[in-house]
Symmetry: C2
Subunit: 243 residues, 2 copies
DNA sequence: TGTACATCAGTGAACGCGCGTTCACTGATGTAC
DNA sequence: TGTACATCAGTGAACGCGCGTTCACTGATGTAC
């Protein structure tokens, strides 16, 4: 029974969690992926050296933050998907992408943390917890195809066929794409590009010359393109705006 | 005759140029958008305070760097486009996108500078030189449509029609899209999203789990999607890889 | 052409602040007998 | 149940470094007469 945790172990886990949350909160407040030990400590009514009881150094904390953030994103996507009935994969696509978009717009620094230029000396440990968390988060999109197929939808996606090199890449089970047609797998990646492109442009203020409404409409159009790329049926509740 | 420049004015202009280039070189060396006055000065065999003769402060230099970088990107795109015959807009699309992609991969920190999370306290001056330089750079893509139309290509792009809000946005002549069909304008933006998405994913190492060859093939597929979105003919020399 | 003055480039020293990290310590929490 | 010891959380002071920025200065370049 390792379930018996001392009070010390419990508060320790709670403190670690609090440090990470405080760091993320401060990141939002400053609008940077920069994280300052003294600031975190002050926010928690502690002193900076105390943090070294929980994280070896700044890089260690950063790795934990990235993992946590991927986890948060994954949970968001999973919850959003779960809130839409099984038999509406198109609706799930719309809901998940809109949720992702809103999340990135609300927390551009978290988006930057995951998908921006890696920090100065920081190299994510290969095959580490970050990679695993990332795969899990993206798995939510892969699941769309399988739930659509379970419903009998298996229209040909409107994308070019996969090349041998691509097919070889897709065959690796790590990416969760090994048992979908290579056209769908390729389509998934095109969707991913399209989504990331829009979201990074919007979150980093490079689409400010558009009205909110125009941006919304543009995004809805991209959702439609995405659905066609991976051959998903239209969402039952409609696309959400001008179509 | 303001053409008469004193030696002082000439060396001054040259020094400003050298400072900017040194800053960009250092950015590449450190792999960050961070720029350190002392480092620039040392590289130029000067001392840090001397730089204040040329730039009011760090933000001032940053603004200049962004403008310069947009200019560099614009020149790259224009030159690349000009190297392809007028009557091959599809070829121009391929050449420009590949050039852009290579540029971002070689200089991820410059890409970050233009399209990443804006620096800490830095707010780009609205309607400033940066905006103008950005518009000029992107204008090279708009030009694709016009050169295609001049050749008689005017197929319907395979994208949803533009909503009223979008149409209103496109009507603003600033964006150089006011005299193209709204479907084409929308298609342009979808292309832009797709391109930015792929490039940011690749440049920031989020597609490392693919082989170089697989990434190349994926990009070629996206080029084909882009061509169909803005109704460009296929490139005369082919797509460049597995199609 | 030469001289007297103004303007500008660049230096070196210094200020001030932020911030990661170390260290010797105190007090509280847990463990062994 | 109580006592003696080990472990851990957290503190406060300090080190060391980086870096933006200021300032009084020297020497060179340009300008006016």
């Amino acid at each position: 029974m390792t379930a018996h945790l001392t009070r010390r172990e419990l508060t320790r886990a709670a403190t670690i969690e609090e440090i990470k949350q405080t760091a993320l909160t401060l990141m939002r407040r400053t609008g940077t992926t920069n994280v300052v030990f003294s600031d975190i400590a002050r926010e928690m009514h502690m002193t900076a050296p105390a943090l070294y009881r929980y994280f070896a150094d700044r890089d260690d904390l950063l790795t934990a933050l990235i993992t946590t953030t991927y986890g948060e994103l994954g949970t968001l996507l999973a919850d959003t998907s779960a809130a839409v009935p099984d038999d509406d994969p198109g609706g799930r696509l719309v809901a998940m992408c809109q949720a992702y978009r809103r999340w990135a717009k609300t927390h551009p620094e978290r988006y930057e943390l995951l998908f921006g230029l890696p920090a100065p000396g920081y190299a994510a440990p290969q095959d580490g917890p970050t990679t695993e968390a990332a795969t899990r988060a993206l798995g939510n999109f892969m699941a769309l195809y399988f739930s659509a197929r379970a419903l009998g939808y298996d229209a040909e996606p409107q994308v070019p066929g996969a090349s041998p090199a691509l097919a070889r890449a897709f065959a690796d089970p790590v990416h969760q794409m090994h048992d979908m047609p290579t056209e769908v797998a390729a389509g998934m990646l095109h969707c991913w590009s399209l989504l990331q492109g829009f979201i990074s442009l919007e979150s980093f203020c490079n689409l400010n010359w558009f009205s909110d409404e125009a941006r919304d409409d543009l995004f809805v159009q991209q959702l439609q393109l995405m659905a066609s790329m991976i051959a998903l049926p239209a969402p039952k509740a409609g696309w959400g705006s001008a179509g």
